[in-house]
């Protein structure tokens, strides 16, 4: 895969280090507060939390788009500040290393067609025309969007937009991928395809930080889950098994809720997860779309990667 630029500091430095970080969009109202978080190279971290807890804000901060109003963030061993990013060499290096797939693909796709979209990042990095074309071709193949390249983004479907958005990041060959709600707008088959893509990235040693409220996707794709509370603080940090078994905590942060179900003739209450995916806590035989497709795939019923429409 693409040659990552040389690390500016000691290679042992973690990708991101946040110490006592606070952020507020308007004075007084915090959108993140007291965040201590270290993300090491190659880790796959899921940031989960209810709506409005600050997941997107955290990712934007990791991408150097918003900055702490208190506390410090370091990226690859160096302080990540607005001033530091003003410096062209640092900016180029940082932008080439970190790719961010936005929550809304519409926001991210601003070029006049998909080809330009994929080429945008490499061109901004100042790569040669041949290199740009090669990267666009490879990324298009990887995400099965060759046929969409000459289409204006506003004529694409939600799922197609998401693929183009991811491809437009891949062409920059980032070492760190920040994914905001990657599974939204994807049908079950495409969700499986995305999980496969994440597995590929894990093999390649890329760091992934994904924000989601889809607990099953988090359980499937991440080797570490951090939980944001509605008070915008970090309330849990651990492996999926450690975090997802803390029912009280998940209830408290509104990621699951008490729910009355009727099974045959018996009504009973149990905790129920939000999100399109599987219910990691349900124990009474519901199989979700994802789990179904995975079972089928295991038995060879569904192709691993969907062909492009």
């Amino acid at each position: 895969m693409g040659a990552a630029p040389q690390t500016p500091a000691a290679p042992a430095a973690p990708d991101f280090e946040l110490t006592a970080v606070r952020h507020e969009y308007r004075a007084g109202g915090a959108s993140l507060t007291g965040i201590d978080l270290t993300i090491r190279s190659g880790e796959h971290v899921a940031v989960v939390g209810a709506n409005g807890t600050g997941k997107s804000t955290l990712l934007k901060m990791l991408d150097g788009l918003v900055f702490p109003s208190a506390g410090e963030i370091r990226a690859f061993g160096l302080p990540l500040t607005e001033d530091a990013l003003e410096e062209p060499a640092y900016r180029r290096d940082f932008r080439a290393r970190v790719g961010y797939v936005f929550q809304e693909a519409d926001v991210q796709l601003f070029c006049s067609d998909a080809f330009d979209e994929l080429a945008f990042g490499p061109i901004q990095l100042g790569l040669s025309e041949d290199e740009v074309r090669r990267r666009v071709r490879e990324a298009a193949e990887e995400l099965h969007i060759e046929k969409l390249l000459d289409r204006p983004p506003y004529t694409l479907s939600g799922g197609e937009k998401k693929r183009v958005a991811i491809a437009s990041i891949i062409t920059m060959r980032p070492r760190v991928l920040l994914l905001d709600e990657p599974t939204s707008a994807l049908d079950p088959r495409s969700q499986v395809w995305l999980l496969d893509l994440l597995a590929d990235w894990r093999r390649e040693g890329r760091t992934v930080v994904m924000a989601t409220h889809d607990l099953s996707a988090a359980a499937e794709a991440a080797d570490r889950i951090v939980v944001l509370s509605e008070e915008h603080t970090l309330v849990a940090d651990g492996t999926p098994e450690e975090v997802l078994t803390q029912r009280e905590l998940l209830l408290a942060v509104n990621l699951i809720h008490e729910h009355t179900h009727r099974h045959a003739s018996t009504a009973h209450r149990h905790a129920h997860a939000h999100g399109a995916g599987a219910d990691p806590l349900a124990t009474h035989g519901h199989t979700s779309a994802i789990a179904e497709v995975q079972q089928q795939r295991a038995s060879g019923g569904v192709p691993a990667a969907p062909t492009s429409p």
Binding site: G99, V107, Q108, L109, F110, S112, D116
Partner: protein, 629 residues
């Protein structure tokens, strides 16, 4: 106020096109300095907003509706130089994507709406608002500034149109372009905007500024004035002193002093000009300033009274708007079940058969129609026709060359031949010919006919009588002038529409890049179009949602409240989108330009077509000289 192709003679539009180039360059520099890296998204936001604003129908007296331009509003929010760029881009997109406004007249339209209006409005606003950050004074100042800015633009447009009969006419007095002299064109444009469109502009601007002051005051923050505002007051005083030259009662002023001057300058005095001068002289001074004998003093009094009147009425409206919003429309029930998007578009684009559509429905229809247009254009542009096969640069430049040729031709027969060329190109490019001709003849031709027909009356254009209808006498040169204008407008509109219908938007952008258009401009154009489509969707849905929940007819006042509220919402929404998009660009290493890799290449067919097109245009001009006007 959009001047289409064919109304302005080549000297006028060429001068204004050329004049706009340095203005754009200066504006781009200024904006780059003040807006920094945020320039592209912010400008795109401004343009998209101006464009979308033109789609909102605002109710006026008597059940009719009109739309605002938003130039002054944008100047107030982003500054006058940013408004130059933003409104220009909105106009380019209207011409290039929707076919409204002309190609050759682009410079004139930009000068009027993107330079005159924002600058006049911006400085008047600063002057009237003082340092007041918000509050009633700010709102009233914005309304008055918008009103005066738009009227000023209209007067300049009137002058451009009114100069045509003097600059271009045949020996027999037949007008070749816009047929009315200054004595008619200026008062007509001025009055239309003083009585009608100026109020819409003022109401919209005040409404949006009031709503923004409530919800997003940071947007309206004024940078401290670099220089004391005293010179602005001085400038206003000078302007008032200068009004005899034509600001408030143009007919009077022109009639008073310019007949001999014009005769001296061009050796020709149009009949209507001399006559109207007399009419105005008889009617105005006695009426406006009874008891004042000195005419100059009369003008001054009129100008001051007029200014006071405008500010006073704006004050009254401001007082009304500053009330907490109340009296909401009757709303009930659930939004209707969503239908498929295409079906919605198709249904909405169909003209309503029954009269009395609601305001919301009208706007939603207009928006849906515009979007259906864009989608249809994409369709046609994707077909493999003659023009579509050509390199986009060649396509753009040759069609523009044809349009320019149409504005140079004097003979009606040669113009008819050019119309035949547009038809042939439409057929060869697999454009739906019926709808092409309908659009060209009905929207461009019929409009020109209606506007120009009165100019054929003996009263305007003297000459041998050709047709008598009761008391009305149409003269031979008059009717010929009308026919020339209509055929010219139809020919030019045909070529412009071919550009719109056979160019995919990405192709147009690439053609512009390949033609060395600055990256910032192309990037802004690209983003604007994207934002427009996104915003149009929002606007359409807002209106449809409202339509579906409105049971009873609501008063025009409530409708107006609602529309301005929505505009403020769209402004906020586009602001947020602009910021998000900018983040997305930064995240991918954006450094200020958006070059494209796909460069068009010229093939053999392109060269053949270019040479053939140039030869054809030369032939047309030669034939025209032979045929005589």
């Amino acid at each position: 106020m959009h001047i289409p192709d064919g109304y302005l003679g080549p000297q006028t539009y060429a001068v204004l096109d050329l004049l706009m180039v340095p203005i754009w360059v200066i504006a781009a520099r200024k904006v780059k300095r003040t807006l920094r890296a945020r320039q592209v998204p912010l400008l795109a936001l401004g343009s998209a907003f101006s464009f979308v604003l033109m789609m909102f129908n605002v109710p006026v007296i008597g059940g009719s509706t009109g739309h605002a331009v938003g130039a002054v509003l944008i100047a107030i929010i982003l500054g006058p130089w940013a408004a130059v760029i933003a409104v220009s881009i909105a106009l380019v997109i209207q011409a290039g994507l929707f076919g409204d406004g002309g190609i050759t007249a682009l410079g004139a339209n930009c000068f009027n709406m993107a330079v005159v209006a924002p600058f006049v409005g911006y400085y008047l606003h600063r002057l009237l608002a003082g340092d007041a950050p918000s509050g009633r004074r700010r709102i009233v100042a914005a309304g008055a500034a918008a009103y005066v800015g738009l009227v000023a633009a209209a007067i300049v447009a009137g002058v451009e149109l009114g100069l045509q009969p003097y600059l271009n006419h045949t020996a027999s007095g037949q007008a070749l372009y816009a047929p009315y002299g200054l004595g008619v064109a200026v008062p007509a444009m001025a009055l239309e905007h003083i009585l009608f469109f100026g109020w819409i502009e003022a109401a919209v601007t005040m409404g949006v500024v009031a709503a923004l002051a409530r919800s997003e005051p940071a947007l309206l923050e004024m940078k401290p004035a670099a220089r004391p505002l005293r010179w602005l007051w001085a400038a206003l005083a000078v302007l008032i002193l200068l009004t005899p030259i034509g600001a408030l009662a143009p007919g009077t002023a022109w009639g008073e002093w310019s007949v001999p001057q014009i005769k001296e300058a061009i050796g020709y005095v149009p009949a209507d000009f001399a006559r109207l001068g007399g009419v105005w002289k008889a009617a105005m001074p006695g009426y406006l300033t009874p008891g004042v004998n000195n005419t100059l003093l009369g003008y001054l009094v009129a100008a001051i009274v007029g200014t006071v009147l405008v500010v006073g009425i704006a004050l009254a409206i401001g007082a009304l708007l500053a009330r907490p919003p109340g009296g909401r429309a009757a709303v009930a029930g659930e939004p209707r079940a969503p239908r498929s998007r295409r079906a919605d578009l198709a249904a909405a684009a169909r003209p309503a058969r029954r009269g009395g559509r609601s305001l919301a429905r009208k706007t939603a229809d207009a928006v849906a129609g515009a979007m259906a247009d864009v989608l249809r254009n994409e369709d046609v542009a994707a077909r493999r026709g003659l023009l579509q096969r050509l390199d986009p640069r060649v396509r753009l430049l040759t069609l523009m060359l044809f349009a320019v040729t149409a504005t140079l031709v004097h003979s009606i027969w040669v113009l008819l031949a050019l119309i035949a060329v547009t038809l042939a190109l439409a057929v060869a490019s697999r454009v739906a010919v019926a709808s092409f001709e309908r659009k060209v003849w009905l929207s461009a031709g019929l409009f020109a006919l209606v506007i120009a027909l009165p100019s054929a009356l003996a009263w305007f254009t003297p000459g041998p009588a050709a047709l008598r209808l009761g008391p009305l006498t149409f003269t031979e040169p008059g009717l010929l002038g009308v026919a020339t204008l209509v055929t010219r407008v139809v020919a030019a509109a045909g070529f412009a529409l071919l550009v719109v219908w056979t160019m995919r938007w990405p192709d147009l952008l690439r053609a512009l890049t390949a033609l060395r258009m600055p990256d910032v401009v192309v990037a802004t154009l690209a983003m604007t179009q994207k934002q427009i489509l996104a915003l149009l969707t929002v606007v359409e849905q807002i209106h449809l949602a409202r339509e579906s929940r409105t049971l009873a007819r609501v008063s025009a006042g409530a409708d107006r409240d609602w529309v301005t509220e929505r505009m403020a919402f769209v402004a906020r929404k586009s602001m947020k989108t602009a910021e998000d998009v900018h983040d997305a660009m930064l995240s991918r290493g954006f450094t200020g330009a958006m070059p494209s890799l796909v460069r068009p290449r010229m093939g053999g067919a392109d060269w053949v077509w270019t040479l053939a097109g140039m030869a054809l245009c030369a032939l047309v001009l030669f034939a025209d000289r032979l045929a005589g006007p």
